[in-house]
């Protein structure tokens, strides 16, 4: 079973401007299990555009949170608009105010700088943009986690994904 390990490390600044390392464990606690991702149109979508001599929309880079509280993987709606995606599904979402139906879109997810294979997901639900800038472009839900084993190693500030 291939294993991906990611140890978190970041630098911060002291009040007098000195660069300070943040311990991995503290960073993982603060940020959660995040991964760098690049979200693009699917291979099939890109091939269709190429056949029509249309330009392929530029991929969107950002952070994805592995969210064990989310039952489904979700992408920022703004990303779907930038990629000019057409919907492929509808799902019902539950929240404190009741339920709503949200559109799903097909995307390809690449994990730059890792040995993780690109992931084609034909039905990622969109989440609504809010006024503040989004911290994540993607939330990985339990639909992804059902296919792999994840270890959250708090003391070491590390996650391990076996897939």
């Amino acid at each position: 079973m291939p294993l991906f390990e990611h140890e978190y490390f970041e630098r911060s600044r002291s009040p007098d401007g000195k660069s300070l390392p943040i311990r991995s464990a503290a960073f993982l606690q603060r940020m959660g299990p995040v991964l760098q991702v690049v979200v693009s149109v699917t291979k099939e979508h890109a091939e269709k555009l190429a056949k029509q001599a249309q330009p392929v929309p530029e991929a969107v880079a950002g952070f994805a949170l592995i969210d064990t509280g989310a039952s489904i993987t979700a992408v920022d709606e703004g990303v779907c608009q930038k990629l000019r995606l057409a919907p492929t599904g509808v799902v019902t979402m539950s929240h404190a105010g009741g339920t709503e139906r949200r559109s799903c879109y097909p995307v390809q997810i690449v994990f730059p700088g890792t040995q993780l294979s690109p992931l084609a997901n034909p039905m990622v639900v969109s989440f609504k943009p809010v006024e503040a800038p989004q911290r994540y472009v993607l939330l990985f839900g339990r639909d992804l986690l059902r296919n792999l084993r994840m270890v959250y190693h708090g003391p070491a500030g590390r996650i391990e994904l076996a897939f």
């Binding site: 099939e44 039952s71 799902v91 979402m93 559109s103 097909p106 034909p122």
Partner: protein
Amino acid sequence: MEAKALESEVAYFDQHRQEFVAKAFGKFILVKGEKDYGFYDNPLEAYKAGVDLFGLEPFLIKEVLPQDQIHEIPAHYLGLTHASV
């Protein structure tokens, strides 16, 4: 995005849901307009078929179940996905 683009496909699926369940429980159906285009073992296969048939137009992929699954993303709906650090 609130789901409005696929209203006719969803209505068609809901209208025929029971017969689809009897025929292909747990499979993924491809629907465009008021017509279905086969059942597939997984959503990726249905998606590839949809792109072959309809290009980049909207189409519906739906898991054939007696009732829709209700999903939740508490972090987003609690506003935590844009919290500052």
